[in-house]
Symmetry: C2
Subunit: 307 residues, 2 copies
């Protein structure tokens, strides 16, 4: 089964890469600029976020071009954030996945513009119409990538005070967790042909509001679907924390210099392993409640177990 799943992951990655290439080809940027965008997007990492979207989508629906396109939009958003975060004025990293970061290779000006272009491109893709004719989960994105997610998380990481594990988890929920959660929720929404329509997108707890708006939208609330929605969100939340701990633990075991924001600065290895496995178990529990064909998502979680 595990080998089959590896093949499946490789197949997703191939599909994602092909679609990303299509998207780049369709742009009207100068060849030199497209080369920079391609450098940023390829070969890419494990493509975790788009794969999570596709796996959540697959639980409810056969694969389709909309889910694939949306998955690529998420990967592109992730990629923009990496380019900007790597820059000297932020994390100042020279290497990313074993090759020079975009600004190291092409200079800071082009890196800054490349990040801008990818954010813009991501929102173009994520806003494209789905079979329902409207931009499905798009409205969730800017808020959860902005003040309720990615950008706010990076701000706290760089300029906030992180004095405890609680502070750290709060930061990672924003910086890493929001996009992972979005991937899972988007897969769920696209797989169920759901849409988000509400004028009230500025205020309050976004997921809280979302749930309210889904309920309000329906004359007869479909409770079962609602529960599954909350489970997709909970899975993303739990896996986001697990993923960060997994990263910190493998870094620690490899003897690398710990970053200032490693969980291992606050807890020891055994505690970190216990926390990791607790989060993975929390994620697994959401799948039990969802039921149906969630085996692949279970296998996905298995990849992050450290004994």
């Amino acid at each position: 089964m595990s080998e089959l799943f590896d093949e499946r992951l490789a197949d997703w990655k191939e599909q994602i890469d092909a679609e990303l290439k299509n998207i780049l080809d369709s742009l009207e940027y100068a060849d030199e600029f497209k080369e920079i965008l391609e450098y940023a997007l390829f070969p890419g990492g494990k493509r975790l976020r788009p794969i999570l979207l596709l796996e959540w989508h697959s639980v409810f629906s056969p694969p389709d071009e909309y889910a694939l396109r949306y998955a690529c939009g998420i990967e592109i958003l992730h990629s923009y954030s990496l380019i900007h975060d790597d820059m000297p004025c932020m994390d100042n990293d020279d290497l990313r996945r074993g090759k020079p970061t975009v600004h190291k290779k092409y200079g800071e000006g082009k890196a800054l513009l490349a990040g801008d272009a990818l954010m813009d491109l991501a929102y173009r893709i994520l806003n494209m119409p789905t079979p329902r004719g409207d931009a499905s989960p798009f409205n969730l994105y800017p808020a959860l990538c902005g003040d309720m997610g990615l950008i706010n998380g990076q701000f706290i990481d760089l300029y906030g005070k992180i004095n405890s594990l609680d502070d750290l988890v709060k930061m990672y929920r924003l910086k890493t967790g929001a996009l992972i959660k979005l991937a899972c929720v988007s897969g769920f929404m696209l797989g169920n042909n759901l849409n988000y329509q509400s004028g009230d997108k500025f205020v309050g707890s976004l997921f809280g509001n979302y749930v309210k708006s889904v309920i309000t939208d329906r004359a007869a609330p479909e409770d079962e679907r609602m529960i599954k929605y909350v489970m997709a969100s909970g899975f993303g939340e739990a896996f986001g924390c697990a993923f960060q701990l997994y990263d910190d633990i493998t870094e620690y075991i490899a003897g690398e210099k710990l970053s200032e924001t490693s969980a291992l600065k606050f807890i020891d290895l055994e505690e970190a392993k216990i926390a990791l496995n607790n989060h993975l178990n929390d994620a697994a529990k959401t799948l039990e409640i969802v039921g149906g064909d969630t085996e692949y998502l279970s296998e996905f979680l298995q990849k992050f177990v450290i004994v």
Copy 2:
């Protein structure tokens, strides 16, 4: 009449500023980060882009909250691009509208993040539902701010070759013109309750495609409306060129050091004035074809006449 129009401009500006403040207040960023965003957005310049949207909207429809919100989205997009363009790795400017640029005041890391946050925020606002229940002109934005506009223009400005007035105009059409054109077209679309629906948003000439898609969308094409749409676009195109020339000429007359991309590097003052007035005349001609209550737009153009 001109005094009345000045009052009208001041009133628009007041409304825009109040709405921008509302938008900032609604965000969940830390107070320090909100302060940076406020610093970037206030006191602002002449608010030309949002006012153009509101004036075009007013030709067809009484003022409403959607147009005002959309106008603020455009101003926020403009503001993100200024922050990033001013940074040392790009234009390296220390001053903007007489006060320190965002990175000079708060550091480069925070400036980079503030730009990201404003782009994200702009797309959140521009994608909000209108009375028609869908995101009206939003789909035009990312393409015309990305490879077919703003970002591509800045790339050409910094890294392209500008050897002639033609090259220069091409660059300015992208860097400055696209957003101005969008403001006019958005005002037209919101004022006429039009929407943009087409799967084909990647390729080809966007405005060409757009026109086709509007035609396709309608069983009986409304030719008159189509012509007005093209006029709004043409007005934006012509005024975008005029605005750039106006800037270059006033800079020249004030005896400031000419930038590398001043039109006065390629033509002399008299030629520049003729070109400016030709563009303003082109814009005025579109208004004749539109007809109706376009007096304020005519007055707007008058503000940029140099004799």
